[in-house]
Amino acid sequence: MTATSPGLHPPQVSQPGDRWVKVSGSTLPDDDAAVDEAMAGILSSGNPALTIIYCSPAHDLTRISARVKRAVGAGEVIGCSTAGELSRSHPTNGGLLIWAIGGDGFRVTTGFGLGTPERGLRDAAHEAALCLERVERRQHTILFLLADGLCGDQMEVVRGAYDVAGAGVPLIGGCAGDDMALQSTRQIHEGTLLTHAVVAAAISSDAPMAIGIAHGWEPLSQPMLVTESRGTILTSLDDRPALDVYLDAHGAPPEARRDGKAFFDFAHTRPLGIARRNRIEIRYVYGADFEKRSLSIFAEVPQGAMAYLMKGSCNSVLDATAEVCALAESSLEGLPARGFMLLECVARKSLLDAAGLLEESLRLPTVRPEVSVGGFYTYGEIARTEGSGGLHNQTVVALAIA
């Protein structure tokens, strides 16, 4: 299933000014050397207006973010820890990737908000999104968000940001990872390391920016009614314990029925789908309570919603990755993309990795070789193109920048 947004802006005759998008990475283990190598690839294009750090928690993020900030100077810097970094050349684990934009055609402001595991991230996202009020508006504006991937209901991030951005500003972003340790993620704002936080960048451009969404999953089951859920805990489907419904429908092996780790590995590639009016949004099942027979989901599954068990294949997942950039670029009002940001769910990575097809996923035949592509493997993807929702799991989201 795929979706795309041309943005809600009326068509404009754009006369784009100087703009560039650049991606550069490093797999060097030394923090300073990695920053120096990655930043060399960025600074050759000039001083960035926005620099985004995607960095494995294997690095010292405090050191990394401070060094990047020093290298960048006056430009804005945000970033987060990842569950893997992806670039045009290859995906990495334990690496550093810098994604940057610059030139007169962009205006950028950034902000952050702090939440707590108890109160969640809605207010934090709201506070971070207030950077929109400070950005010098050009013709096209988006709000880019990076949120803690392990702090409450990820849907709250979209709601908090939407309260500020409203319908006129598309939202895109991702939830930070921690190389699948599922312990703690980090967010970066201007050289400062945060946790339980949302960081945001309001990006305003002379030229269009567009969002593509794809996941490649298909319904495995008939729709089921979410008969009981609370936040991210799904208790029952069609009045049966949700865990039992899930395990039985997927024919789960015995170890996945009693062991948390085995269940995690099993569920990793078997998401749920939530029906929306003209699409299905994917939800990542990451845990089970074997006593209460409930499922733990990364984002809210609303009580009363229609839910599907979903299935996918390597081919459909590969197709989605290949397609998403083309979808986004097709909404740039006829202008070619200068660069892409990819935000891809870590579970999709696992599926492809197991099949030895990970490298394949980044060949991106629809993207011209000279165009910069980079992003990270997330614990949740944000893309609001229509409606007021926009939190996705096990999905790939692309931001195309003209």
């Binding site: 009580q303 919603a305 007021s388």
Partner: protein, 587 residues
């Protein structure tokens, strides 16, 4: 796979949205409704007021309010055309959902409308729940504020005495643990009053805040800093023993000494006296705090800016001190404290020209006690003023009597007066009354104060000093050269005599520096028209040098120890007899 009917989904999810409890229920419900019907905009309006809204900025909300009377189906916004559907709720309340691109079809409209009553009931319930939650939250906040009020020191944000005692009780209940023994550091700032007086209370307050911050920076995360009152702070810690606790105290003192606190652009020196007490099995929070206080007190008495560890002898000393205080309180009105006199002689002819009155306590059990044994007790007990008065009255009465015996020759009387007495607004009045009841003339009386007293308590003492000047009473600066030496004050106040401290006189003849100092002081005093008394003269050699340097008067064991009234009177008359025919002018 057949998709679920959209209308079923919409009905199910929107209704379910109203059944989920949440602290921000109404806001969440509006978000959920918007997500369920795939709307970009959801709002609840009451009359011309928007109660809740998602998806529209302020200007767009005004457009929505304007569209309300006609319940317009479309709203043209800058970002596109918004298709609206209005759902009547209760009275003048409306739920509005808005979507770009596709208008709501008949099925969706019918369902939303049919749900109106449910939504209305739910919003009422939610509003009531919200009001109740807000009331509960307000009550909780009020309780928390009351607790905070009662346990936190407002100025520094540190725990106050009450919370300190509570924390200490918890630590004591755990007793000696693997991490160590509960211990208390009682920290009393030195010279805080001077900072307050010199720079004002605002600076004083900020100074205390900075001290609190410094202490917080220096302690471990599981230690606790509190402020007990005024300039008293406390650190609760756990320690392996006195050595470790002493190290912490030393660290605090080192930082205070080496890193002046920055307050309002000033760098203020800081110093403290610290008492340390380690918990024993029998200690209560109060006794442990008291032990630390005693230890602090003992070091402050010996030397400020240090630390001491509590031992049981301190408690014994305190008991003795308390007993002495009670006895002094009883003894003062009974005339046990009286004046003794030490002669002051003329350097020129060696005759007695006056006396310095010195307090002595004729203790019923301990015999005659010198001031060192009881002045500190009197000061703490607030008896210093009364003691000064008793000694002054006694001395004036007696010296006045000797004067009248030989009319025309008037012996001087020097009396030490404490800073607190000098600041007493009634001092000049009391002296006026005392002189009125005594044969002593005001020009015979010299009030001895230290130069430090003069400098530190100028503001409060200024009026007294001027009033005394009008009465003809003069000041003698005691221990000159050992404290703040501000020559400005010599000019500003009616200083009649400078008394060179005995420490300089000791070195005369064998310490060239002392020779130079004494000579300089005498020369300066003479040029200002001030007389000089050298204290602590014990040898003829010292007397000879002083005489040669031009010192006016001499005082010391060479001329007599302090003695009682009868002996002193006899000495005076004896001296006077030897000088018959030589007029000794007091002025």
């Amino acid at each position: 796979m057949s998709p679920a009917p959209w209308s079923l989904h919409l009905l199910s999810e929107v209704l379910a949205a109203f059944t989920v409890g949440s602290p921000n229920a109404l806001r969440d419900v509006v978000s959920r409704v918007a997500e369920a019907v795939d709307a970009e905009v959801t709002a609840i309006l009451r009359g011309e007021r928007i109660l809740l809204c998602t998806g529209l900025n302020r200007e767009e909300q005004q457009q929505l309010i304007a569209a309300r009377p006609q319940r317009q189906g479309e709203l043209d916004l800058a970002v596109g055309q918004l298709h609206l559907f209005w759902v009547p709720l209760d009275g003048d309340e409306l739920l509005v959902v808005g979507r770009f691109r596709e208008a709501y079809d008949l099925e969706e409209r019918a369902l939303l409308r049919a749900m109106g009553r449910s939504i209305q009931l739910s919003t009422q319930v939610l509003a009531a729940v919200k009001a109740e939650q807000e009331a509960m939250r307000a009550e909780k906040q009020a309780k928390e504020a009351a607790i905070r009020e009662a346990t936190i020191d407002h100025l520094t944000g540190l725990p106050n005495r009450r919370l300190v005692l509570r924390q200490l009780a918890e630590r004591l209940s755990c007793g000696r643990s693997r991490s160590g023994i509960p211990a208390v550091l009682f920290i009393d700032l030195d010279r805080f009053k001077q900072i307050n007086d010199a720079h004002g209370h605002r600076v004083g307050d900020r100074y205390l805040q900075e001290v609190g911050r410094l202490l917080r920076d220096l302690i471990r995360s599981d230690d606790l800093v509190g402020r007990l009152s005024g300039d008293e702070f406390v650190v609760l810690t756990t320690t392996s023993g006195l050595q470790e606790a002493g190290d912490l105290a030393g660290r605090i003192l080192w930082h205070m000494h080496h890193q002046p606190l920055r307050v309002g652009g000033r760098r203020l020196p800081s110093s403290a006296s610290i008492g340390i007490a380690l918990a024993t099995a029998d200690d209560t929070p109060e006794t442990l705090l008291e032990n630390a206080d005693l230890a602090m007190y003992s070091i402050k008495e010996r030397r400020a800016g240090g630390y001491a560890c509590f031992d049981q002898t301190m408690r014994q000393q305190v008991r003795e001190r308390a007993r002495l205080e009670a006895e002094l309180r009883e003894g003062l009105p009974r005339g046990q404290v009286l004046a003794h006199f030490q002669p002051i002689v003329s350097a020129a002819h060696g005759g007695v020209v006056g006396f310095e009155a010195l307090a002595r306590w004729q203790h019923p059990r301990h015999g005659l006690l010198s001031p060192e044994r009881f002045i500190g007790v009197a000061e703490e007990a607030g008896l210093l003023r009364e003691l000064d008065t008793v000694v002054m009255e006694s001395a004036c009465r007696q010296i006045g009597r000797w004067s009248s015996a030989r009319e025309g020759i008037l012996p001087r009387l020097s009396i030490n007066i404490a800073a607190t007495s000098l600041a007493d607004p009634m001092l000049s009045e009391r002296i006026r009354a005392m002189l009125a009841d005594s044969p002593l003339e005001s020009r015979q009386l010299f009030l001895e104060i230290t130069e430090t007293t003069l400098v530190e308590d100028v503001a409060s003492s200024f009026r007294n000093i001027n009033e005394l000047k009008r009465q003809g009473v003069r000041l003698a600066i005691d221990d000159f050269g050992t404290g703040y030496s501000s020559l400005r004050y010599l000019k500003r106040f009616p200083v009649g005599i400078l008394k060179i401290d005995r420490s300089f006189v000791d070195g005369l003849g064998h310490d060239s520096e002392d020779d130079v100092i004494v000579e300089t002081v005498i020369r300066m005093a003479r040029s200002l028209g001030i007389e000089v008394v050298a204290e602590g003269v014990e040898t003829q050699s010292q007397a000879g040098i002083l005489r040669r340097l031009g010192c006016h008067y001499l005082q010391g064991y060479l001329y007599g120890h302090p003695a009682g009234s009868a002996c002193s009177e006899a000495l005076y008359h004896q001296s006077l007899a030897g000088l018959i025919g030589t007029a000794i002018d007091a002025g």
